[in-house]
């Protein structure tokens, strides 16, 4: 396996009322070719900003102020607008959370698929239509020829998401960013879509960056997972490491607060307090204010990601102390 995407110490700022607010701080991730890499976190943690900034799609007010994003070894940030445009949809594609609003309501499904094909390949409308219909079939859209002329609102949510996927894979990109692709969907449909994504990965060896707040989806889909909290990555590891040996207090808290059959009858663990807003973020560990273990140091200096096992990095001052995690585990049982 080789690296396809690497994000190096990326920091993103938001200009608001002449204040510079840190949305992402010093993020580093490396995605290997062919893997499904997950980024998990609660709303507002910056996971979507991170995925959008790969293709420079984040809101205008947000700027990557330092760091670099390398795709196949080339800096994305140094590319011209035109070069970036050429890459979007061709090299790297995206799927968004809400298929209904992400598709243009006044253009036909077919048009929206043909459009991306024609934007990157110099072929006739007719040829493009042929390709589009093939892709539609591939993503499991029934009656593709008829659906081609339908408008998005005529389709159900699941079908719309399939159209989104069809658009995303129409030009056979190497890299697919799926930003909460199933959040708006029902469980049974979610299962279908997740299944489809897995198939795409298997058949085309597409690398997938999957972003979700749902740990269940992550566990089901990903090879490796990064956990984000308040604009920072607090833990990265293989799926097994994250689920079986969560090492950051936040990851642990998250795991424990999910209701699962085995927790029935007992009160759930809950992380006290709320996610700090952008304005409330201070120096030090971002989780300090909600962490049971926090000591003075946590509020003043930032912990760095540290290796706790092979391919398992945690950003916590206590990550190396075995007994602490034990103690911690006891604290809510």
């Amino acid at each position: 396996m080789s690296e396809i995407l690497s994000i190096h110490h990326v920091t993103v700022h938001l200009e608001q009322n002449r204040r510079k607010l840190t949305v992402l701080s010093d993020i580093s991730i490396t995605v290997q070719k062919g893997e499904i890499f997950g980024i998990v976190g609660e709303s507002g943690c910056g996971k979507s900003v991170l995925s959008n900034s790969i293709l420079d799609l984040q809101p205008k007010k947000m700027r990557v102020s330092s760091g670099d994003i390398l795709f196949e070894g080339q800096s994305m940030l140094k590319k011209s607008k035109h070069q970036l445009q050429k890459m979007r949809g061709k090299e790297i594609s995206m799927i968004f959370q809400n298929p209904m609003s992400s598709l243009n309501p006044s253009l036909t499904v077919g048009y929206q698929i043909v459009e991306i094909i024609r934007a990157h390949q110099n072929i006739s409308k007719k040829e493009a239509k042929g390709i589009a219909i093939d892709v539609m079939k591939k993503v499991g859209l029934p009656r593709a020829e008829q659906l081609f002329y339908d408008y998005p609102h005529q389709l159900s949510g699941g079908m719309q998401q399939r159209v989104m996927i069809a658009i995303a894979i129409a030009c056979q990109p190497k890299f697919l960013i799926a930003d909460e692709p199933t959040t708006a969907l029902d469980v049974t449909i979610q299962a279908q879509i997740l299944h489809l994504l897995k198939e795409i990965r298997r058949e085309q060896n597409t690398t997938i960056l999957l972003i979700s707040h749902d740990l269940g989806v992550m566990g089901d889909m990903c090879d490796r997972i990064a956990v984000m909290y308040a604009g920072e990555i607090v833990e990265i590891g293989t799926t097994a490491q994250i689920f079986e040996n969560p090492s950051h207090p936040y990851t642990k808290g998250l795991m424990e607060s999910i209701p699962t059959p085995d927790k029935k009858g007992n009160p759930l663990y809950s992380i006290p307090g709320n996610v700090p807003s952008l304005q409330e973020r201070m120096g030090g560990c971002p989780f300090a204010s909600r962490c049971h273990l926090a000591i003075d140091m946590c509020f003043t200096s930032k912990p760095q990601l540290k290796k706790v096992a092979k391919a398992h990095d945690v950003s916590c001052f206590f990550s190396e102390m075995e007994e602490v995690s034990f103690e911690y585990a006891k604290s809510f049982s």
Binding site: N52, L55, L57, Q85, K86, M87, R88, G89, K90, S93, M94, F96, N98, S101, S102, L103, N104, P105, S106, L107, E115, I116, A119, H120, Y151, P152, H153, Q154, M164, I167
Partner: protein, 313 residues
């Protein structure tokens, strides 16, 4: 289809209300058409005779039924003043007013769409501020005032307008065009202001929608996104506003025809009100209402078809 039918029925009801209102309104106003026609020296006998001739001696209800029956077959009766069928009088004047309204609409569209796009695209920048100030001022200047100013500048100072020089299109298209250009501009200015503001808002609204990000992520050019994706969606609500303002355009031509001495609908209407030429006034107002209501209906329906989101609901 169902929707079209429903809208049509409710439009017809609106029209009926207008018809009744118009009829009653003009009967309540003091002023006897026979008297106005005959003037102040007429004897009561003469007035009575003319009233009989004009059918004004019938009861209000009879008059209404009589008139309404005619309206159903688009027969608005004869003008009291001109002794000619109202419809042919209307037909004669329609040319000017329609050309005027049409030109105003064309000017409005051709000016406001680019301005709206520019304003939205340069939101908050200098150009946007400039356009915003322009539209605010365009909205604030009363149209009759604008008409006078245009005449003062282009007529008195630059000698570009030939007031009263209107000839029908069939006779001399260039002269007709010249005669209508400035009045159409005067009507168009507030409309442009309204549309630019509206288009700007909807464009900005649309630009924030997720599908724009999708379009970007597909690697489309900015211009393609703006024109092919955003504008189309932004125009849908704008069309409604434009349709609603059709009445305003007609009303605008009513005033502007006065200022520019164009032999149009509005001028005839105002004289007809003064004359208490009931059939003519009623015919014209009903005609205006029919046009305004039809345009609104068409806008409603086309909106339905333009906006696929509501088409099936």
């Amino acid at each position: 289809m169902d929707y079209v039918l429903k809208k049509t029925v409710s439009s017809l009801f609106t029209l009926f209300v207008v018809i009744v209102l118009v009829f009653l309104a003009f009967r309540i106003i003091p002023g006897n058409p026979a008297n106005i026609i005959l003037g102040v020296e007429a004897t009561p006998a003469q007035v009575e005779e003319l009233e009989q001739k004009l059918g004004l001696d019938q009861t209000l209800f009879e008059q209404f039924i009589h008139w309404f029956k005619g309206v159903l077959v688009l027969d608005f009766g004869e003008s009291l003043r001109f002794s000619e069928p109202v419809l042919s009088l209307i037909h004669e004047r329609m040319g000017v007013t329609f050309s005027l309204a049409f030109m105003a609409i064309v000017i409005t569209i051709f000016v406001s769409i680019p301005l709206g796009i520019i304003a939205a695209n340069y939101k908050g920048k200098f150009l946007d501020v400039l356009i915003s100030i322009g539209t605010q001022i365009g909205l604030a200047i009363p149209s009759f005032w604008m008409g006078i100013i245009l005449i003062m500048i282009f007529g008195l100072m630059l000698h570009l307008i030939s007031v009263g020089g209107y000839v029908p299109w069939s006779e001399n298209p260039l002269r007709a065009f010249k005669a209508l250009l400035f009045p159409a501009t005067a009507i168009a200015i507030p409309q442009i202001a309204i549309l630019v503001r509206y288009l700007r808002t909807t464009m900005i609204e649309q630009l924030n929608f997720d599908y724009v990000r999708t379009a970007k992520s597909k690697g489309l050019k900015d211009s393609t996104i703006l024109l092919k994706h955003v504008l189309k969606n932004a125009l849908i609500p704008v069309i409604t506003i434009a349709g609603l303002n059709f009445g305003a355009i007609l009303a605008g031509s009513l005033v502007i025809e006065q200022v520019y001495a164009l032999p149009g609908f509005g001028r005839m209407l105002i004289t007809a009100i003064g004359d208490r030429d009931f059939p003519l006034v009623q015919g014209m107002v009903v005609m205006i209402a029919i046009i305004a209501i039809t345009v609104n209906l068409l806008v409603d329906i086309s909106y339905r078809y333009l906006d696929p989101k509501i088409k099936l609901k």
